[in-house]
């Protein structure tokens, strides 16, 4: 009886879900009339004003008293706040989560299937990475947030790539047109890295344990079909795909700056802005800062797709999420606000306010005018949101179960493997070390 879905029940559920988007939040008998939310503190000046205005508009309409706290990632503040609130079982109603954290706190979050399904119908499908990170045991535990979500694809210097590597990145990824990037492969990337290194403008890719370094390594591994742990949780370190990926990335890493193992997430930005490198892997934040501090560098920057490997063209993707704590006393209001922030008009405003940095995770919203118009040079961000779906957006360490993948990611296992092999450790010894590390992550 419980599992049986009658036609009438199906129609009633669908109608109720659709109505949730259309209907304003009505204060129920349990609502306290207050909502405390955490939003990621945006680095783009003025971007917080837009999100604040959107929330306040909703609050005024629904007569809810909203308190917004903007918290950034500096010193792991966002991470620590979420960890503290989980322990204390009190705090905000809505929390912003970076990449893995929604899945990590799945047990403490309110399922949001009732708002995600209508949102997907309205805004288009979400990619497999969003589903992998936001859906736990078949249930949506968080809503993909536009604020903070990013693709960390290549940002190249047009002039240096043309001059030293003979690659015209604007021709590969023309503004306003589909990519013509068949020749843009990992082999081409390797040759370009060598040429630019020899010319004194090495690619600025880090080999540390922070997010930017790990994301690039993850993309290279995916391009070879290399997984350290598969989707079922089996350790698959000692495979040919992993060997090939490690061999390739070690070759590429020889052309990185010698101090790359010590780089953090600021190092690649500084590398590009100071004019010392021909390519970095980053969202357009480095370009945006260069536009302010080094305009002559900014006008030569072009954000584009990643080079294709034997198993496809992958790009590092880091979605952010908004989740509702299960201890929240105003869950219906929280859901209503998340629906409001996920409307196309709200998303368009958020993208514009961030100068094109923030990415919606919904398929129908990757061709907003901000990306076409931002510059100089005009069209530099056109291919940033992957408008033609010509690359697979993935997160490093996937498709391992998120609880395991998160550890592989945070511990930077792939970059450490690369540095070990780069420093002369034999391949099999590196693999044995990685296998031992990964086995340790399987504990529940």
């Amino acid at each position: 009886m419980r599992g049986k879905l009658t036609r009438r029940r199906f129609l009633a559920t669908t109608a109720a879900s659709s109505a949730l988007i259309a209907m304003p939040y009505v204060r129920g008998s349990y609502a306290a009339g207050k909502l405390a939310i955490v939003l990621w503190d945006h680095w783009v000046p003025g971007a917080n004003n837009t999100s604040r205005a959107l929330v306040e508009d909703w609050a005024a309409k629904e007569k809810v008293d909203v308190q917004i706290d903007y918290i950034n990632n500096q010193g792991n503040k966002l991470l620590i706040t979420a960890a503290a609130e989980t322990q204390a079982k009190t705090g905000h109603d809505i929390m912003a989560f970076a990449t893995w954290r929604a899945a990590d706190h799945a047990n403490q979050l309110v399922p949001v299937d009732d708002i995600m399904e209508p949102l997907i119908k309205q805004n288009g499908a979400v990619n497999q990475t969003v589903e992998y990170l936001g859906k736990v045991q078949g249930r949506w535990v968080a809503v993909p947030a536009t604020i903070g979500t990013q693709i960390k694809g290549p940002c190249s210097r047009i002039d240096l790539m043309k001059q030293h590597a003979g690659i015209d990145v604007q021709a590969l990824y023309p503004a306003g047109a589909p990519p013509k990037a068949e020749s843009w492969t990992l082999d081409a990337l390797l040759k370009a890295a060598e040429a630019c290194h020899n010319a004194g403008f090495p690619f600025g890719i880090g080999l540390g344990s922070t997010s930017d370094s790990v994301d690039t390594a993850g993309t290279i591994f995916h391009s070879f079909g290399a997984e350290l742990v598969d989707a079922k949780g089996n350790v698959t370190v000692k495979t040919d795909a992993v060997r090939q990926a490690l061999e390739y990335y070690t070759k590429l890493a020889k052309f990185f700056p010698p101090d790359a193992p010590a780089w953090d997430d600021a190092s690649n930005n500084k590398w590009l802005i100071s004019g010392r490198g021909a390519l970095i892997m980053n969202p357009p934040s480095a370009w945006a800062v260069a536009r302010r501090d080094a305009p002559q560098v900014a006008e030569q920057c072009w954000t584009h797709g990643m080079a294709a490997g034997p198993k496809g063209r992958f790009a590092p993707f880091l979605p952010y999420f908004w989740g509702i704590w299960s201890f929240s006393k105003n869950q219906s209001a929280a859901k209503s606000l998340l629906v409001h922030l996920s409307q196309p008009s709200a998303i368009e405003k958020l993208v514009a306010a961030s100068g094109g940095y923030d990415l919606p995770s919904f398929a129908n919203l990757t061709t907003l005018k901000t990306w076409a118009e931002e510059g100089p040079p005009k069209g530099t961000l056109y291919h940033y949101p992957n408008p033609y779906n010509h690359q697979i957006l993935s997160t490093a360490a996937s498709p391992a179960p998120p609880k395991i993948a998160e550890q592989i990611y945070t511990q930077g296992v792939m970059t450490k493997m690369t540095v070990r092999h780069l420093q002369g450790e034999p391949m099999e010894k590196t693999l044995a070390w990685a296998e031992s590390e990964v086995e340790g992550f399987l504990r529940t």
């Binding site: 047990n107 540390g208 193992p261 540095v419 340790g440």
Partner: protein, 311 residues
């Protein structure tokens, strides 16, 4: 008769009242001392004892903190290569840093002690500066000096055709860098403690040694060092505890890298517990410091106690 019966009872009651009355209790020195230290005791209970007991509890839970696993987390750690690397690095970091802090502190204390009294206060103040600056702030300055790509040191060395040195990119240099900064921050504490000890050594002992024809090294070895032994031991113990538990220097300068080769207990516990989200394992890593420091404390304090009894 009734009076005779009631007399001793009343006397006993009044005696008890005298013994236990609040006013009398407050007059006792021990009670006053206890009352005055009570706020501190409560603070310690709240911010030290409770978190310590809570972390003990956490260390016995599984990753999702839903199941009691006893010593399972510790047994798991004992089988991890990285954990033993962290143990080794913590020992190298703490012992080397304390040794150099003691040496520099001792030498500088002698220099300052020999400066004429008039200008001594100025030097003492200046030499304490690294110790009184908040470490997070001074570490950021050091981070800029050691920056992988834009190191100020390398910029200077380049003028002399030296380098560039990968201060935080190479394991050996990274270890050197974090120890150097720890010594820079901690040496003034040793200096001020040793200076106080030097000032308490009776001048007559040096005069007697001089009469006996002792040179500088002999005076230092046979007079200064024995007179300072207790202060040296206490300072070393105190510093060892603080250095073993150090977090900020390593976290800011290297974040444990490259390839985990500068991680110490606190930074590794933070990585595992907070960044990776395995709070019970992080608690277990941080608790592992307790037995190591307890053993060190027992040995050092026993030595001090023994010498005290001999004296």
């Amino acid at each position: 008769m009734a009076d005779a019966v009631m007399g001793p009872v009343t006397g006993a009651r009044s005696a008890r009242a005298r013994r236990f009355g609040l006013r009398n209790a407050m007059r006792r020195k021990s009670m006053i001392a206890f009352t005055m230290t009570l706020p501190l005791i409560l603070l310690i209970a709240l911010f030290v004892v409770y978190p310590a007991l809570y972390s003990l509890n956490l260390a016995t839970l599984n990753r999702s903190m839903e199941r009691f696993v006893g010593l399972g987390n510790f047994l798991f750690l004992f089988n991890r290569e990285t954990f033993w690397m962290v143990v080794k690095q913590s020992c190298i970091f703490a012992l080397t840093a304390v040794l150099f802090k003691a040496i520099f502190g001792f030498v500088v204390a002698h220099f300052v002690h020999n400066i004429p009294t008039k200008g001594q206060r100025k030097w003492r103040g200046m030499l304490l500066v690294p110790w009184v600056i908040p470490p997070a702030m001074s570490c950021l300055a050091w981070l800029w000096l050691f920056d992988p790509s834009y190191s100020a040191f390398n910029w200077i060395f380049e003028k002399f055709g030296i380098g560039p040195i990968p201060w935080t990119g190479d394991a050996m240099w990274a270890r050197f860098s974090v120890i150097l900064v720890n010594v820079w921050i901690g040496a003034p504490f040793f200096m001020i403690m040793y200076l106080a000890a030097l000032k308490s050594v009776p001048e007559q002992l040096y005069e007697a040694a001089a009469v006996d024809g002792a040179n500088f090294w002999q005076r230092t070895w046979y007079v200064t060092l024995p007179m300072m032994r207790n202060i040296i031991a206490i300072t070393a113990l105190f510093s060892l505890i603080v250095t073993f538990a150090n977090f900020d220097i390593v976290r800011i300068l290297t974040a444990g890298g490259p390839i985990d080769l500068t991680h110490v207990f606190a930074t590794w516990a933070f990585r595992v517990g907070i960044e990776v989200g395995d709070i019970p394992l992080g608690a277990s890593v941080s608790l592992f410091m307790v037995p190591i420091l307890t053993i060190a404390a027992i040995f050092i304090l026993r030595d001090i106690h023994r010498r005290g009894n001999e004296a």
